[in-house]
């Protein structure tokens, strides 16, 4: 690494920015909340394809002016003629409901309607799915905390977990700000982000530990600086190849994977940033030195 970047110089300013963004995200999550999909809110989702391409979105909205559906949301989905319809009513209460609705829509807009996807989740199941999703994320964070604590020292563990919470909160905060839908696949994305960001942090931590053992005279913040620099090209290259794969899914993988890959792209970028600017400074704040490692014969 010929041109060394003085990362620790930016640690303070970066931490202030991170803190601000986290606070803004929390405020959004708290006051605006997340736009939950049918998985977590209950209700019905229909993906339809209409043969007659002249049909506009307002025609479909008009055809769905049925009070018992509750709040109806229609949007264009991918190619022309494909629409996504969401409404509050749980279509499971009446087995014929979907068939009737299908006939009703195609009569009103006077075109054949192809139901490509139907998802209906009852209120009880949606509550359970939400609870499961939250449990899974919390458990993943806990497992990471535990793993790093065993492999390193508690200061590392704390640094890693702060970085992870930072990533998860900001990713969800952005989803809240943009009102993007949060469904089961977003939970999967968040868990993968947790794994990825952790992966990134561990690589830097490993190097910091190695360097701490190698140099006893150098100050902690210089050690982190050296370590981040030494691993920098790996950090950048891996993020790039992962992003190449993710952008390929985002652009070419179809509408269903859009939300998932978008969350992952955000997560990889934020996770890469946080490994350097959030996880590593924590070690400085706690003044982690060679002694910290040698105290209990740390591996």
């Amino acid at each position: 690494m010929s041109n060394k970047i003085n990362f620790s110089k930016f640690f303070n300013i970066a931490n202030i920015i991170s803190l601000l963004v986290v606070i803004i995200s929390i405020l959004f999550l708290f006051f605006k909340g997340l736009n939950y999909g049918v998985d977590f809110k209950g209700g019905t989702l229909l993906e339809i394809r209409i043969e007659n391409k002249n049909i506009q979105i307002q025609d479909i909205r008009a055809s769905l002016d049925i009070p018992e559906l509750g709040d109806v949301n229609v949007k264009q989905f991918g190619v022309e003629g494909d629409f996504l319809i969401k409404f509050e009513k749980n279509a499971n209460e009446n087995e014929k409901f979907i068939t009737d609705l299908k006939n009703d829509i195609s009569k009103k807009i006077n075109s054949a309607v192809n139901f490509r996807r139907v998802e209906t989740v009852g209120p009880k199941v949606s509550r359970e799915l939400l609870k499961q999703g939250i449990t899974a994320i919390v458990l993943a964070l806990g497992a990471m905390l535990f793993y790093i604590w065993i492999r390193f020292e508690w200061q590392f563990s704390l640094g890693a977990i702060i970085a992870l919470i930072h990533d998860v909160v900001i990713t969800l905060g952005i989803f809240s700000i943009l009102s993007f839908e949060v469904n089961l696949s977003i939970v999967a994305a968040v868990l993968t982000i947790v794994g990825y960001s952790m992966n990134d942090t561990v690589v830097i931590f490993d190097r910091i530990r190695e360097n701490l053992l190698k140099y006893s005279k150098i100050k902690t913040n210089e050690i982190t600086d050296i370590s981040v620099n030494e691993t920098l090209s790996r950090t950048v290259i891996t993020s790039l190849t992962t992003l190449l794969a993710l952008f390929s899914i985002f652009i070419l993988g179809g509408e269903i994977l859009k939300g998932f890959s978008f969350a992952m792209i955000l997560g990889v970028i934020i996770g890469t940033y946080s490994s350097i600017y959030v996880a590593s400074p924590v070690l400085n704040y706690f003044k982690v030195t060679q002694k910290t490692l040698l105290k209990d014969d740390g591996i």
Binding site: E47, V121, M198, T241, I249, L257
Partner: protein, 516 residues
Amino acid sequence: MLSFTKIKVLSIYLVIALGVFFASLNLKTNNLINKQVNLGLDLQGGSYILLEIDTKPLVNQKLQTKVIPIKKLLNKNAINFNDFTISLNNISFLIEKEEQKKFKNLFFKQQENLINSFIPEYNKFELDLKLSENKASIQFSDFGLVSLNNSALKQSIEIIRRRIDDVGTKEPTILQRGDKRILVELPGIDNPERIKELLGKTAQLTFRLVSKDDGFGSEKLILSENNEELIVSKRIVINGDNLIDAQPQFDNQSNQPLVRFNLDRLGAQKFGRITTDNVGSRLAIVLDNSVISAPNIREAITGGTGTISGGFSFQEATDLALLLRSGALPAPINIVEERTVGPDLGKDSIDAGIFSLIVGFILVIIFMFVKYRIFGLVSNISLIANLFMMVGILTILEATLTLPGIAGIILTVGMAVDSNVLIYERIKEELKTEKSIIHAFDTGYNKAKITVIDANVTTLIAAAILFIFGSGPVKGFAVTLGIGIVTTLFSAYFVARHLTSVIVLKDKEGKYFKLK
């Protein structure tokens, strides 16, 4: 780290060959080894339906059946009682303090107890008895409820299986989920609505007489054909249990679709007796609290067969016959979750998924080649081996590939190179201080090992949690991600390392590679 014994090299390439072999099984069907990756419902189209059984009515129904035996027991043993009442989940009556003990002993008798059966597997009784000042109160014990619930669930699964098999869908999956739910997966069906209708119906069939006076022991029901309100006796002449067969037919005269049914011996006897005694009355045929038809009894029917006509279409008659043949569900069942994907969307998803996989793969390969040249090539070869092994393992496990699962493979492609990048970057550093190339490679691989393992364990933890908590398509993502980590470690530490060692040992001067 650069020396490989012959047997080791052979094993490495054998593993890859096995991966290629198993992966290739997916290219055509009917192989000698019948293993293939299954496509998830989101890729091949089909329905995922989660049903929940509602045992509340069943508890009440079962409690009703206890009323007469309890009264009989009390009378037989000359125990005085008063105010016998039954509510939704509780039977109570007034009983003198002195007689309570006597009743209690009878109620909890271990042998030949027709009222309160003993459940050996829990070592507990089905019913609980609470005695107070002058009152006895009977309800189901927790164990009684569990055993009632379990048997109802098992029976429901059996009946649902019969109904689905009767419709003739290919390879349905019917599984118990938790203690109240049944998961039904129907790949490739084009009309889930019909199946949903068949699943949701309790199909409790009863034959009852229509009575003239509206009073105790009768109820008002609607005749579905013309919305006529009928007063129907609560006494059941025969019910669906007495049916041994039901088939849809056309009426000889009117050519209307109808359902012909056959009764068992007991049912035929009862049916014969009632129809003989009640010529001229109307007989209501009641399905799930609505009257399908209520024909006049013109003559005694003693043959044990009859027909139900109710202005059906042929499809309706077929479905009714199917429901009657498969039997009634012991308790009502509700659909609590449904996900259906049409076959054309599934096809589109596969196409988009595979296309983005290929593009992502090519981009990563080009990137690695540009960045690392000959070692990029090594990394790319190991990446291809990685892909084959992944698909091979998925095939051996006959795992289900879903759309998020394909995303997991693409993500693995992006992340798999990480191990090689870690190692190469490390080697580059070593080369700065180390003169001997072989030494630099050796220490590079050694030092990167711990980091590579640490980094992959974290992703593996995330995949494991996702596998435990995820459902359906998301689980497919966890599977490919998890398998991808294992194959990645193998391909980085065995395949790529071996190829690297071949190059390094041949080219000690470092002509071919400049890792800077």
